[in-house]
Amino acid sequence: MIESSQSSGIKTKRFTWENTKQFFRDYGWCYAFILIPLILFVLFTVYPLVMAFIYSFQRYSVLGSEWIGLDNYKSLMNSSVFWTAMKNTLIYTAATVPVNILITLFLALMIFPLNNKSQTFFKAAFYLPGVTSGITMSLIWLWIFDPTGAGLLNAIFNLFGLDSVMWLANPDTALFSLILMTYLGAHGAGILLYLAAMGGIPKSLYEAADIDHAGWWSKLKNITWPLLKPTTLYLLVMGIISSFQVFEQAYVMTMGGPNLATTTIAYLIYDHAFQSFDFGLAAAESFVLGFIIIVISVIQFKFMSTDIEY
């Protein structure tokens, strides 16, 4: 009773100059704090975005760009390389994101029941590779993928009497090799998120499930997995967004080759901007990529979002 009368009291509070002044006296600080990031956001995100959009309709030149309408968009739609890059990016995304989420979940499930000390150890062990420099990591991977018997993978293959594979040099295996790198790569951040989410599931749910005759698989499938859905969705969206932008692997390991097998959209954008100086085309490609990412993200949130409350 008391509560409802209070809340209606606020609603009926009249909007007056005095109130407004009081409001800003009370909350003005907050706006001052929001203002700084807002300005930075407009300056460093909105403004360049708008300008990039304009460039995508131009043949860019530093001393005077030329307006060419939709030519950049047309030429990328007609470019077989663009579609190859699109296909590569889609394959890469489809093959990395779901599998990596499952790997991450599996690792988190293995770590979760451990005591605090061991948990900390494994969290660190899985997180640290993520902060190692990309160059160091790529050197290791180049050794692993070495096409001769000197490489780790081929040494293992040869041990079992299999022929060496030219992992990164063969168009049939190059993209797969980059995908493989992600499977064995850093799952640390995802593991931390999953562990945190698992810790947030009340223990009593599992006890209730125990009493409800649920075995470990039923508990995983019917309790853990659905309750981790927000985390999974987050990892899925972030994973797809970042894998649509995959660049560094293709740049460091294969330069987009062989035979364009690892040319991703982001690599193509880089190539067009920084190798060909074709900034208009690169901007157009960026917008196509950005558009696809936004569409996919919206679809995911629309169809998969849940609001779980314990």
């Binding site: 300056l43 001393l63 040099a169 060909s276 100086f277």
Partner: protein, 461 residues
């Protein structure tokens, strides 16, 4: 792997572009210097850490040598201040590209010649600033490399030349007269026979007659030059990697690979790996390399003596690329030097003149040290004289370099209209299809056909 966020990168880049566009109306500032003294002209130079210092030998790093030259320059030119920046080899190119395309390049920048720079309209020809003596002193090839549309766009520090290299002990075991090849060259067939002799299994380990990188089309391109085809695309827009010449060259490589003279994994071998294989004694001949390898090899041998490195010492010899019967040797090389730029917001004639003076100071005879230290021929005759000790001009290798750089010819300088498509042709067809070819996924015929078809779609003859 650390995430390299391309989006952020592009956005930042575009931000730089746009931020500079925002200055357009502000032309009144032109000519005056925004920082420091109003009557002081600040000239900027961006270059790379060409060589490191060495405490044991007392050798200064490039940056220290550069500072010395700058100090001299500032003393000679009161009122001019020089700001220098040493870029990283990995990121410097991108940084310059962004700066250039946003209209704000440094006045002087270390770079190989690139038509795209000229096409931005911000490169400034040196023609009006060089003296007769400078030009007379400059190696012809070096001059040609920076000449485009009858203007000189930069002044080289050095002439770099690509060679192959060999293991003298192995070559002599195969009965080869190394000095004769160094002085007279060799044909593809002669090379094939020698390399074949060098291909064997020693204590269970494969030794190849020849090892080269197969990640891109470089080896093929350089062999095409030894088969009478200098350029992928000619200046009048003809695609040259076609027909019998192309087929012949690819077939030569195919034969080397199929006969096991060259590893069948060549497609997966990068330059670093080829170098390692050579050092490990897994290759008699490898390429490409260059004169710089002489210095590297000396250091390696010294390290082995000192027990710092495991391995066999190697007596390294430079070798020319073999040429097809009836064709001439044609070394591939380039010139590394400084190019002159102005800004979109032009700082005026006096400023450009100061920048040009600085450029010439930094590429003067003394700067031959840059080449000499790296064991690359300096671009000035006077520089070669000054550093002939360091360059070992009296050894067979040194004499070979002297001879070999005379076979250098500059590549085609493509007109603006076809530069971009030539780049596309290379990255979207020549390299990708070559990659398929070298690992054995496509035949020589199929590869040439694929190139020709793609060239046609891009409008090449």
């Amino acid at each position: 792997m650390k995430k390299f966020n391309l989006f952020v990168f592009l956005l930042t880049f575009i931000l730089i572009l746009t931020a500079c566009n925002g200055n357009e109306g502000d032309q009144t500032g032109a000519g005056t210097d925004s920082e420091g003294n109003a009557d002081e002209d600040v000239v900027t130079v961006w270059t790379y850490p060409h060589y490191e210092g060495n405490e044991e030998t007392g050798q200064q790093s490039y940056e220290e040598d550069l500072k010395d030259l700058i100090a001299e320059f500032e003393a000679e030119n009161p009122g001019v201040k020089v700001k220098h920046e040493i870029l990283s080899w990995a990121e410097g190119g991108k940084k310059f590209t962004a700066a250039l395309n946003s209209g704000n390049p440094p006045d002087v920048f270390f770079s190989l010649f690139d038509e795209k720079y000229v096409n931005t309209g911000l490169a400034v020809p040196l023609t009006d600033y060089v003296t007769e003596e400078d030009l007379a002193d400059l190696n012809d090839f070096g001059e040609q490399m920076y000449t485009y549309e009858d203007q000189l766009w930069g002044f080289p520090h050095y002439i770099s030349v690509h060679t192959w290299g060999g293991n003298r002990a192995m070559l002599e075991e195969a009965g080869v007269d190394v000095e004769k090849i160094q002085q007279e060259g060799w044909t593809w067939d002669e090379f094939y026979e020698i390399a074949k002799k060098g291909t064997k299994t020693v204590e269970g380990k494969e030794v190849y007659g020849f090892v080269t990188q197969g990640q891109n089309e470089e080896t093929y391109t350089q062999l095409m030059m030894q088969n009478g085809v200098r350029n992928m695309v000619s200046e009048d827009g003809e695609f040259m990697f076609k027909g019998d010449k192309a087929l012949e060259t690819l077939s030569f490589l195919e034969r080397l690979r199929n006969d096991g003279i060259m590893p069948k994994e060549t497609g997966g071998i990068d330059p670093a790996k080829a170098d390692v294989m050579f050092n490990n004694g897994q290759a008699m001949i490898y390429g490409r390399t260059g004169p710089y390898k002489i210095r590297e090899n000396e250091n390696r041998n010294a390290d082995i003596d000192a027990g710092k490195v495991d391995g066999e010492k190697i007596d390294f010899v430079l070798l020319p690329l073999p040429h097809n019967d009836g064709e001439k040797e044609n070394a591939f090389g380039g010139a590394g030097g400084l190019m002159l730029f102005k800004q979109k917001d032009d700082k005026g004639e006096a400023h450009t003149e100061n920048a040009a003076k600085l450029l010439l100071k930094l590429t003067s005879t003394e700067s031959g040290k840059l080449g000499a230290t790296l064991f690359i021929p300096p671009s000035r005759q006077s520089g070669q004289e000054m550093y002939k000790e360091e360059l070992k001009l009296d050894t067979p290798n040194g004499q070979f370099v002297q001879r070999y750089i005379t076979t250098l010819t500059p590549g085609a300088k493509l007109p603006e209209a076809i530069v971009q498509n030539a780049g596309k042709l290379k990255t979207e067809s020549v390299i990708p299809n070559y990659q398929s070819f070298i690992i054995g996924n496509a035949t020589a015929e199929e590869t040439v056909k694929a190139w020709e078809d793609y060239a046609k779609t891009l409008g090449f003859k």
